[in-house]
Symmetry: D3
Subunit: 160 residues, 6 copies
């Protein structure tokens, strides 16, 4: 097997940004999910307090939205994409917080990386918010859970 | 329990950046680890090829190092920190790639968030590199594994 | 009245980036204006000197142009927009500096936020330029003064 | 009067970043204030809704905090400063929203520009949040209201 | 001759970003080349070592690709462009390293500035990589070597 | 010779950011120079016009100053440095423009890379300013010309 199966590498193994200029502009959606495992004390802090949840989840949500826009700055070979919609949901569970993100565009390339970046940076921001009560937050199970649009067809994790 | 246990929130639940100006400048080290679970085909692509590994792991390594420097841009309430050293290690295993990062500083705040950001962005860049052969890379088990320096004492995961 | 009147908020009050992927690409123009009130001494410094105005106004102008391009990085829920033209005018008056900016695009969303961001960052840069002689510069009356293109029709402040 | 009174300009009128390397590291605080004038309808939207205030003010607050950290990126001749604390307060009044920000550092230069940048970008984000119900939000009266630390002594607007 | 021949300047000499919103979206390619002159010791370090070339050239390559995407952030009057492809080649010669970059887009403006930015930042990163053995790396002969697409016709340096 | 002579590479050839946390904070200065070769027509445009030089050189100067601050964002393994002073000089000659930059800091690492980045980005911005009259601007002879401070001693090109 050649390194060239990895399309971001040329035949000599060096990285490049692949050409998408001839690809069609089509509507594309990607959804990603992940979890942040937290201690009971951290969950309690997120659930109670005078102002339920306060800004803690808002900070994570906003960090995720902003990170989706900065994906090409973070992921070296990612193409700049016109991010047209981002929503992030954080659901506090007994042992952690579920994070899901949906990103939409009408552009030449998929936006799975934007959805994954959104979830992981929201997770980082959440860990930062609760670190005074839990220094051992753990990010886990971050993956693409659905995509539609583009050449490779639609797919949903829960229909597999 | 009040929201104010989350030090990034004030007593009314609103977010702020906590004051560290009076904290001492001390040498600090943080280490974080995580994994990217990949298909056998993706692992094979990373292991073989004309140029063993080519730029694939280098791209992830560099993305991680750069992201450590950009942590305060990504994590809304993180303080700017003078990142003084970053190293990232990616080890290809049979079912995925282990990622570990060590970050050092001599500054007023801990750099655990920098280490976590380094690992997660390296993971995102790795998933981007192999997505042509595996659209289902999964980031998992990202957590701080060691820290030293600062007021709260030293700690290592494998000594617990 | 529900929070959902604020379109950046969902029905549960959480923020999201609204979907514009189905909106038409149309030519859009926005103009914003504002003022920086300055002391007589600062105005004199801007008006005289060996090199009339020197780089002082140029720095403000360029800061404004660059900020227009960075709007989605600064305003969390703003969409990335292809900024196609920016002009900034600074006019030194007896009690301050008038700033106006016109921004153009052919894209899916309005660019009023880009015009406002351009004016306010130009104002910040101007205050920075003169702060050695006037520590009390004051930014005032920053608002959208005209827009055209897009679904909501054309509008000009001075025709109201 | 020569252009050189503007310390950011050299004697020939060209801009430079002044040398602060020999200045002492001292604790410094700056406070800035401003207002966003809004329509009654926008104020009602901010005050009511299922989730009182929802994320609307949180988005502005977080945008302001992040902008404080990015001041040297926005204001061309501003020095990089280690921002050690930021707090932003938004108070909904009958005719608008009062915004105040306090920024702290232990560094070589003042952080008045960081405080002003924080208030203005929070104002921009707030206008963006309510623009669906009020396209004519107006930023006004943004100025430094207090500073302490550094060579030029302490000062408070309300003690003048 | 008037300053207005420089299209980035208005008739009064002030800078603006020219309007491209009415220009057609067409496929465009630009190629730039340059050299980094290095000492024999630095060349030997790049050529030998346990891992031939190691990450040294990869770091330069990736820095160049990322810089192409950041051109509008670096060059004040450059328009944001949807960078659709970037490749960078570094060839180690006896007295230095040849760098060439090819950038592609389907957009409203040329991408010669992106190609030049890619080569120069790759050159800066390369100098940084070898500075422990050669503090006197020199960037030279950076220029556009080919362009196609857009109104002004195709051109190749080696066909002149 | 081993790759490890390149201090940015570890013994296995992988890149890392070297640890400077134990280095002393000392005053450091670096100067870099370079040239942009331009056509007679471009030089004439820079020299004449209603407003001599207009904003053309100011844009390049400001771009260089801002780029110095962004060096760690552009050069992957560069440490964040507190840039304490930057000055850029552009001198129009008959066949091009000479650019020199001086950067100062009191920090743990040298700032030669900041000086080089300043010169090269100023050169890129200048080429962008004149490209309507000269598409073949050429950046040449960019190198460090002086440094002082730090462990490795002082050095000036013109004293060699």
């Amino acid at each position: 097997m050649e390194g060239s199966e990895l399309t971001h590498l040329r035949s000599d193994g060096t990285a490049h940004m692949v050409d998408v200029s001839a690809k069609a502009v089509t509507a594309r959606v990607a959804e990603a999910r992940g979890r942040v495992l937290l201690s009971a004390k951290a969950i309690e802090a997120l659930r109670s307090g005078k102002v339920p949840k306060g800004d803690a989840l808002a900070v994570a949500r906003i960090a995720g939205i902003q990170a989706a826009k900065r994906t090409p700055d973070l992921v070296p070979l990612a193409h700049p994409v016109a991010v047209h919609a981002v929503s992030v949901d954080l659901t506090v569970q007994d042992d952690g917080v579920d994070i899901s993100a949906e990103v939409r565009t009408a552009d030449r390339t998929g936006i799975e990386m934007e959805a994954l970046t959104c979830v992981t940076v929201a997770a980082l921001a959440l860990i930062d918010m609760v670190k005074a009560v839990d220094k051992h937050g753990r990010i886990t199970d971050v993956r693409v859970t659905a995509k539609s649009g583009g050449r490779s067809g639609d797919w949903r994790e829960d229909e597999q």
